[in-house]
Symmetry: C2
Subunit: 317 residues, 2 copies
């Protein structure tokens, strides 16, 4: 273990991302002190039981005192109010960051509150699972995943480099881009995919001709993949769609245009158009596996399913 | 091991499903003889190397001779021609089945060719991976998954029961329904999900504002889940959309209608509508895990990613 990168880090919010950062700092010795703040008392107690920090606070203003680095690990929609609450208590020279999935809106909401004597470096680790809360965090979450930093034109470069060092230490790779470009990229690789996953699950649940129990029983034919994504945290995702509206609507328009063209190919029996697309998409899957961003195991290497307890007379038992 | 269920089974086609059936018959002793037929010589040789049968044929007519059970394990679009080719050589009293993902069209295409002295019981195991070919098969593929049988009104019940016994012996659960209902159910749980996965991957690949390399790098944020499904066999899926056109278009219309309403909620900032849907969909995920149709592990219990060889200076190495 080398010398810690920071004396004191404050984590405001301790869900999946916050707790994974906390575990990294603790297990890799990246800071001497970690102050954890969260609004809900039960969550704070759980964070303490899990030893996710060295001090625990209901009031974020208290947590950020003397911190060299403050990371807001909150749904995007809560970042403005949190910035306002901590602003008067920030140490001069402190780095302030976040982990939100939208960057333009976070900059707009936080920046007006932050004093000139701190360094604001917004960030976004492209990592996660469908689970949430302080128990969901784990050490390897960021390993071999990208973290995007979106410093502003006037951000001190040394501050960006210090934050980059922290992310690199978690096993992440780091890329720097503008908030605007980040929001476009994430709209297509994350936000629209989540939206259509939520949507197909909703559509399936509302049919009259196919029962919900049939949808569940036969879900291994494709549907179940979408339900994992559609089980993501509702508050976090509501905020993402409300705050990255323009980029999401732009990408959604492209998606719908392409879908209409596929629909037409099906209606008119244009098998070649279908075959061409289905061949092209296969190559992209290969590139993702090649780039180490997904496993090559069939079905993601899914663990064997448990037996269905509702089918007691099931075969083979 | 009990007495075999059949004397001789003929498998026409030896891809993922055919080879998984072959392995089940061999390892569980479900038949004395298994004749494997496939059109491509290289595939036939590979099937022989893998010991997937007891005899191997390029001509399906030869394979079905004296078989008590013939299963077409082919893309839906090839079933009609295959039925015509084998029809004159079928043994009286033989059971003829298939594993196609569409049932109405398979019945329409096969039935006219089949002689009155055989029993036609169309079938569809709701199981698979994104991989194809004789090497993709494995013993556990059907375990705890549903197989749907769609006998016709005049099908002999005893034939349906004998086929059910074979599927039960592979570890599958069996449900019987009409071909029409099967096609509606599969349109929503499988065909439309595949279509929108293919579509989003195509949309992302065609953007000018976001590069393909960015799409691949940041795919762990949701996109990669869709690429697995969009890597499924192009021929098989072209045939599915061409042959289950009406049900797919019907379900697709519902999907698009719902998506338009979500789009409107985003445009007008209706956070409550988004939050309500995102909460409802979470419950469906829970039901699927509860029913044993998916793992409860985060990220499907994905295996750890390999390191990206293109990032040699990557952190943590």
């Amino acid at each position: 273990m080398t010398a810690p990168l920071f004396e004191k880090v404050a984590l405001i919010g301790i869900g999946l991302i916050g707790s994974s950062i906390a575990i990294n700092i603790r297990d890799r010795g990246l800071a001497r002190e970690v102050a954890v703040a969260t609004r809900r008392e039960a969550t704070l107690r759980r964070a303490e039981e899990l030893r996710l920090g060295t001090s625990f606070h209901l009031d974020p203003a208290e947590a950020v005192r003397d911190a060299d680095l403050v990371i807001l690990c909150l749904p995007v929609g809560s970042c403005g109010a949190a910035a306002a609450a901590i602003a008067p208590h920030l140490k001069p020279g402190a780095i302030v960051s976040d982990v939100g999935s939208v960057k333009g809106a976070v900059v707009d909401q936080m920046r007006p509150h932050l004093p000139a004597h701190v360094h604001f470096v917004p960030g976004h680790p492209i990592a996660g699972t469908e689970q949430s809360g302080p128990d969901a965090g784990f050490l390897e979450l960021f390993e071999n995943r990208w973290t995007i930093l979106t410093p502003l034109p006037d951000t001190d470069e040394a501050a960006t480099e210090r934050l980059r060092a922290l992310w690199l230490a978690t096993g992440a790779m780091v890329e720097v881009m503008t908030p605007e470009h980040h929001d476009l990229v994430l709209a297509i690789v994350s936000h629209v995919p989540h939206l259509i996953a939520y949507n197909i699950v909703g559509t399936a649940a509302d049919l009259e001709t196919v029962t919900q129990s049939e949808v569940i029983k036969f879900s291994a034919s494709g549907f179940r993949d979408f339900t994992r994504i559609a089980a993501s945290d509702p508050t976090m995702w509501r905020d993402i769609f409300l705050t990255n509206r323009d980029a999401v609507l732009e990408m959604l328009a492209r998606f719908s245009e392409d879908l209409a063209s596929l629909q037409r190919a099906i209606r008119w029996g244009d098998g070649d158009a279908l075959f061409d697309l289905f061949t092209r998409t296969r190559a992209i899957r290969r590139s993702i596996v090649q780039a180490g961003q997904d496993t090559e195991e069939a079905n993601f290497g899914r663990l064997k399913p448990r037996r269905d307890p509702w089918n007691e007379g099931a075969p083979g038992e």
